[in-house]
Symmetry: C2
Subunit: 235 residues, 2 copies
């Protein structure tokens, strides 16, 4: 598959095994180490290096005295997703209406959250977001302009997270806070609910490596939205 002259041997073995067991059910046997030694004409330590990587990755598990097998997939904690991805996952059609998209000077709260200095330029993007045509939430996102040059000029994307992804800024870390509250009159009007209806407020600070890429405050209609979170110690 790959130019064999250039690929490292342990990488060749690793990718061979990955392809071989890809799609196999958990518990299926992987080739034995000595079998791979024969097939690739390499030392056993080289095969072990390849297999070690797949074990660490969670694809394989070793059982001493028995062999190496396809591991049961580990549970994965919640992915960090944006609205579009999340609604799509729920089988709903995500739509957004931009109410505001402009350059602003960061106030004290936003500046601190974005790790900037008060008065620095930030992008403020306010959207009314619908699911299957009905208002779901109102989102105010604040972005670091320095990380997103030309963002406002390029025409707003549908999905902020796709857009961050394309720039290599997909969040790898998020700090969320969630509270229950009543809608303000303005929020109620936009969300098409009675004034003072119950809402779920969701704030997020999303980082990619050590860069704060997004700070947002979203208010969800409580009658339409339940937040789901999976927590776990494996990834």
């Amino acid at each position: 598959m790959a130019p064999p002259g250039r690929a490292l041997k342990h990488v060749q073995v690793r990718e061979y095994v990955r392809t071989l067991v890809g799609g196999s059910s958990p518990g299926s046997p992987a080739p034995s180490e000595r079998e791979l030694v024969q097939r690739f004409g390499v030392a056993r330590m080289t095969v072990r290096q390849a297999m070690d990587a797949l074990v660490v990755e969670g694809l394989l598990e070793r059982i001493p005295g028995r062999g190496t097998f396809v591991a049961r997939p580990r549970r994965t904690a919640s992915k960090i997703t944006g609205y579009t991805e999340e609604m799509t996952r729920r089988g709903l059609l995500a739509e957004s209406q931009t109410l505001l998209a402009r350059r602003e000077q960061a106030g004290p709260g936003v500046a601190r959250a974005l790790s900037l200095t008060e008065g620095d330029a930030v992008i403020h993007w306010r959207r009314l977001r619908r699911a299957d045509g009905v208002p779901m939430c109102l989102e105010d996102a604040y972005l670091n302009e320095v990380l997103l040059p030309g963002f406002l000029q390029q025409g707003m994307p549908t999905s902020l997270y796709d857009s961050l992804d394309a720039r290599g800024l997909r969040p790898t870390w998020a700090e969320d806070s969630i509270t229950a509250d009543k809608a303000t009159a303005e929020e109620a009007g936009l969300l098409e609910v009675e004034p003072f209806s119950v809402v779920l407020r969701h704030s997020r600070r999303a980082l990619c490596d050590d860069k704060v890429v997004e700070v947002s405050r979203t208010v969800y209609r409580a009658d339409r939205f339940t937040l789901w979170v999976q927590l776990g110690q494996d990834c």
Copy 2:
């Protein structure tokens, strides 16, 4: 430290390095591989096996051509905590008042959530929980009696999670759902808020390995509680 005759060499090297760099700042150099080969009189592959484990663990990072260094600690996603631990972390005094603690037959919802059959015996534990003396939430926990023999007879612990911990059932995985709502009249009375006040409802299904150890529904006073969640892909 450990009986040297019995410990595996790579474990000896690993623990030596762990002790040596324990408490060092990120970026501090670890001993070089060849230095450890000399010190322990082992092969380099053995040293590499030891160091590999520490790298996978996140304690060390290797920089080719430069050396091995103490890694910057990875961010850790939210721990799965119970009420007592969480309030303590926030600097509040956690107290609980048991309103109900009895054996019941599982209804359809609870049975499914606990991976049991309808009518199986479950423990139902209802508590009014205070923080610094003021009502914070009302929690209904359902536990699998088979996993917790004698639980009701032993007198209720303060912290369910400590109690699970002691039985080796500390949750390693949790599925939470969060909604905003209004309190029922009964909830409002217990929580000492006006009827129909805004509340945050939090449901949890907590597992230890593949066993469902806790299913709970908690209603928090919205005026006193903000839920915090950290999401990330390293652990």
